[in-house]
């Protein structure tokens, strides 16, 4: 029996985080009343002309550099011609043979194995409007042009992916990078990060590619995996039973848990690409490229590595803390406020066990229950020995509840550890006096009784005593 391998290439459309659209001054914000963010340019009115958004060009360069691409000093907008009412001009302004970014790569890891995935190109293009069918129960289709002309970066991978798991890893990695460099908000639900997949299979060892199908509009990581897995299995079944794969566009039907045909090759368009005569070539100097490169923040991979090597975090913890740019920022800000890198692991632990469950992320934004500085204030108290870890959790809950600082809570509730040695020694002496039998046992060599004394002291001090101090004094008094 023949064994097959899958060949997968991904096309990602990432909306660039600009305030305005790609060729006009309209707001690019999502979710406004239909047709309120429109003007003659994005409505394609006769006589209106496009003017490129410099910020979009900068973000495209930023993304290209973060993905290891060569950024072209001269690139060009081209028109992709086809009729559809969601295109106000009946052509999409895109890039064709001279895209802004080319020849990049991305390293993914699946089951502990690293793999390089080539990035063929990344190009700028304008988004289409949104067609709404059957609004109000009627037969009509209405069009909302708010989205028309919002800037997208289409990132095309080489057909280097061999499994659904690799595809998923690639997408997550790509999304992480784009979010960390502030180019895209990674929001699959709102469609600001969309993916199409080209899938084919071939017998293992065969050089040439099989006939591919294109999976369109996959809007969650879960669906990506399921859709590709299904499609690979479907193609294997077709080929194994002597059939032929038809080149076509398919889509994932979540209800039926399968991919279904959207349109076949016969309807494929001749897009008649040609350079857009309204837009001069995009020229970017080497100096500008280098200055954008210099402004790139630390990328997620480098960050994870640094957390492990420099801060002593486990790879797992480093992964959690770099799961979102704002979480990493919060972690680093807390650590910076404490001013001691050696506390990295403790800060990481506290954030993971106590803080993260309160954190909500939406796109690039995240809400935290307390400010990083406030958290640092709390952890500083633990470090000083003013409170212990257990009390710190109580104080933190109180901080979240009231917004008060750790210090004021500790003070007002009298939670400060009994660090007054004389007072603590008196407390301990009382415990020893009350338990003469156990003292005898300990002095007779039964070391295990030590824990009993600690427990009794902590009980007597309502948990506020510094356990380290308790142990020290106990040893001295018993010794």
């Amino acid at each position: 029996m023949t064994t097959y391998e899958a060949v997968i290439g991904l096309e990602v459309h990432a909306q660039l985080l600009t305030r305005t659209k790609l060729f006009c001054g309209c707001s690019a914000e999502y979710g406004a009343e239909p047709n309120t963010h429109v003007c003659p340019v994005c409505l394609g009115l006769p006589g209106a002309l496009p003017v490129p958004n410099e910020k979009a060009i900068e973000l495209a360069i930023r993304a290209g550099l973060a993905l290891g691409c060569k950024v072209r000093t001269t690139s060009r907008f081209a028109r992709k011609n086809y009729f559809y009412p969601d295109l106000s001009k009946n052509y999409q302004t895109s890039q064709y043979d001279e895209p802004i970014d080319e020849h990049g790569e991305l390293v993914i890891e699946v089951d502990g194995v690293e793999k390089r995935i080539g990035i063929t190109r990344a190009h700028l293009e304008e988004d289409a409007a949104k067609n709404v069918h059957g609004e109000g129960g009627g037969l009509h289709t209405v069009v909302d042009y708010n989205r028309a002309g919002t800037p997208l970066l289409e990132i095309v991978s080489e057909p280097d992916l061999r499994s659904a798991a690799e595809a998923e890893a690639y997408l997550k990695k790509l999304r992480d990078i784009l979010m960390f460099i502030g180019v895209n908000d990674g929001n699959l639900e709102e469609g600001s990060f969309r993916c199409d997949a080209n899938v084919s299979i071939r017998p293992v060892g065969q050089e040439e590619f099989g006939t591919r199908t294109e999976l369109k509009n996959i809007n969650s990581f879960k669906f990506v995996r399921k859709a590709i897995e299904y499609e690979i299995a479907r193609q294997e079944a077709v080929v194994s039973s002597g059939g032929k794969i038809v080149q076509e566009t398919r889509t994932w039907n979540e209800a039926q848990q399968k991919t279904v045909t959207m349109r076949s090759k016969e309807e494929a368009h001749d897009y008649r690409y040609f350079p857009c005569p309204d837009l001069p070539p995009i020229r970017v100097s080497e100096e500008r490229i280098e200055s954008i490169r210099a402004s790139l923040p630390e990328l997620p991979d480098a960050k994870r590595a640094r957390y492990v090597e420099q801060l002593g975090l486990t790879p797992y913890d480093a992964g959690v803390l770099t799961g979102h740019p704002e979480i990493a920022r919060f972690f680093e800000a807390t650590l910076a406020a404490l001013g001691d890198e050696k506390l990295g692991k403790k800060v990481a632990n506290f954030i993971q066990s106590e803080v993260l469950r309160f954190v909500e992320t939406r796109g690039l934004e995240a809400t935290f229950p307390v400010k990083a500085e406030a958290l640092a204030g709390l952890l500083a108290l633990v470090e000083k020995g003013s409170i212990n870890g257990k009390i710190a959790k109580q104080v933190f809950a109180e901080m979240v509840e009231t917004g008060a600082s750790a210090e004021s809570i500790v003070e007002s509730k009298g939670l400060a550890a009994v660090t007054d040695t004389a007072a603590l020694e008196a407390e301990i002496q009382k415990v020893l006096d009350a338990n003469p039998a156990q003292v005898e046992q300990y002095r007779g060599g039964k070391q295990a009784v030590f824990g009993f004394f600690v427990g009794q002291v902590m009980k007597a001090t309502k948990g506020q005593a510094d356990p380290k101090a308790v142990q020290e004094i106990l040893r001295r008094l018993l010794g």
């Binding site: 003659p40 006769p46 006589g47 209106a48 496009p50 011609n81 001009k89 009946n90 040609f274 309204d278």
Partner: protein, 491 residues
């Protein structure tokens, strides 16, 4: 022969001094339109109310002692492919009939700001595609010098309006000669600026890499004044360039002595029409007389201009005109099915020449043909530009006839699109090279038809073209020998 009066400059001056009111000037223009446009069909829309209101504002501003613009009270007609806020803009096409743009074209905005009074929108070949204005969906424009002849095209309405004195100036658009050729046929000064000199914002695109807005006036000086107003960088047009706008009126006063004129000998000699040839000879004599030196130059690749133009222009047009689909504005032929709606709307909305060019352009861009047609045509454009660069090594302006013949009769070429395309044979090369080019009247045939000479300049060197044109006008201008005589109006 002598230079005609500069009515634009004189009117602005008279209004500023209070010798005439803007309302009087406007009413005179509206009255002439009323009396003559039934015969000419130069206007598609006369904005009587808007014009009078603009004129009143000029008079009020003067009464209040406010500064007046350089075109205060001057009546101007606008080709109907330039957007005018709230005023119908149809491109002489059924598909856009009745559409009122929500904004002004940049050039229109600048005219208004300069105090001009916009009297109406002029007729053209549908979407500026044509050389005779016979392709208008709303009937052809007549040539004021001979009503049995075409005014040229595509800006035939704007050229005829100025020639017949219906407005003191007008704006047209030139893609392959659409200002210069009707300028020559109607005996008026016609300016095609350097590509990028005047904003295309609000000019409804035919071929984006060629389209330029340009003025028609009776005199060269008047054109200079209009150009000073409409030229300049516009951030809304990415192809508009940031170059300083010189004092063109001052250039009209510079003597032509020492000017080096390059004569495209092969083009002059290709002219079969004896009277056009005679007018060219007279022009060369006049320039010599003015102290210019003449040299022969050649444009070896100009012979490909017609082929190149009809590939590039139609390719761009096929894409530019895709937006007319009945979805958002203009004509919609309702059908239950989307594809049928778009197809029927375009089938009924576009005229035959527009359809012909959309099909040509679609073909030229198709997979497998793009390299052989569009890409190759673009390469030849570069060669034509280099021909000019070489010519400008030895001269300051390049001279050729504007057209091979004077205005032809209606129907003479409508059966043969290729013969029609050849009317633009001399105006196409400067367009493809993106260079400024003027047509200046340089004589009348025995039958009383105007002849024009075309002067082409270096990029952004309109000033030298004003200088050379003024020299020709001073000696060969049509003076007060005006076309209006042919309309039976001696007033």
């Amino acid at each position: 022969m002598s230079a005609p009066r500069s009515i634009v400059v004189q009117t602005a001056e008279a209004v500023r001094k209070g010798e005439r009111t803007a309302v009087e000037v406007c009413e005179e223009s509206l009255a002439r339109i009323e009396r003559h446009d039934g015969a000419l069909n130069a206007f598609l829309y006369v904005d009587r109310e808007g014009a009078l209101e603009a004129a009143r504002r000029v008079d009020e501003a003067r009464a209040k002692g406010e500064p007046l613009g350089p075109l205060a009270g001057v009546t101007i007609a606008i080709k109907d492919n330039l957007c005018t806020r709230g005023v119908p803009t149809s491109c002489a096409s059924k598909i856009l009939e009745g559409w009122r743009p929500p904004y002004d074209a940049d050039s229109v905005e600048r005219l208004r700001a300069a105090g001009a009074v916009l009297v109406g929108k002029t007729n053209l070949d549908e979407f500026a595609m044509g050389s005779s204005t016979e392709n208008s969906a709303f009937g052809p424009v007549k040539n004021p010098w001979d009503l049995s002849r075409v005014p040229g095209g595509s800006s035939g309405g704007s050229a005829a309006a100025v020639a017949a004195g219906l407005s003191q100036a007008s704006l047209g658009s030139d893609t392959g000669g659409s200002v210069r050729q009707p300028g020559a046929f109607c005996g008026v000064t016609a300016v095609k600026p350097t590509y990028g000199r005047v904003s295309r914002y609000g000019l409804i695109a035919f071929a984006s890499s060629l389209d330029q807005v340009g003025p028609f006036t009776k005199s060269v000086r008047d054109a200079a004044r209009l150009m000073e107003v409409i030229a300049g960088h516009d951030p809304r047009d990415a192809t508009s360039l940031e170059r300083e706008v010189p004092r063109y009126e001052a250039a009209c006063d510079e003597p032509a002595k020492g000017l080096r004129v390059g004569v495209v000998r092969s083009q002059v000699e290709a002219v079969e029409d004896a009277e056009v040839r005679a007018a060219m000879d007279a022009t060369l004599d006049a320039l010599r007389d003015a102290g210019a030196t003449l040299v022969d130059v050649e444009l070896p690749h100009a012979k490909y201009a017609v082929s190149v133009y009809y590939l590039v222009a139609t390719a761009e047009a096929s894409s530019n005109l895709a937006r007319f689909d009945g979805v958002r504005y203009g004509l919609r032929v309702s059908r239950d099915d989307l594809v049928e709606m778009v197809e029927e709307t375009r089938a009924q909305g576009f005229g035959p020449e527009v359809k012909r060019r959309i099909m040509l352009g679609t073909y030229a861009l198709s997979a497998g043909y793009y390299d052989a047609f569009y890409l190759k045509a673009q390469k030849v454009r570069t060669l034509i530009r280099r021909d000019y660069d070489a010519a400008f090594e030895v001269c300051d302006v390049v001279l050729s006839p504007t057209t091979p013949t004077p205005a032809f009769e209606f129907g003479a070429r409508t059966h043969d699109p290729l013969a029609m395309y050849l009317a633009d044979i001399f105006t196409l090369p400067p367009s493809l090279a993106g260079l400024p080019a003027f047509s200046t009247p340089c004589g009348l045939t025995k039958g009383g038809l105007p002849v024009g000479v075309q002067l082409t300049g270096r990029p952004f060197d309109e000033a030298t073209l004003f200088r050379a044109s003024a020299a020709i006008e001073a000696r060969l201008g049509l003076g007060e020998h005006e076309a209006r005589a042919f309309l039976g109006d001696k007033a």
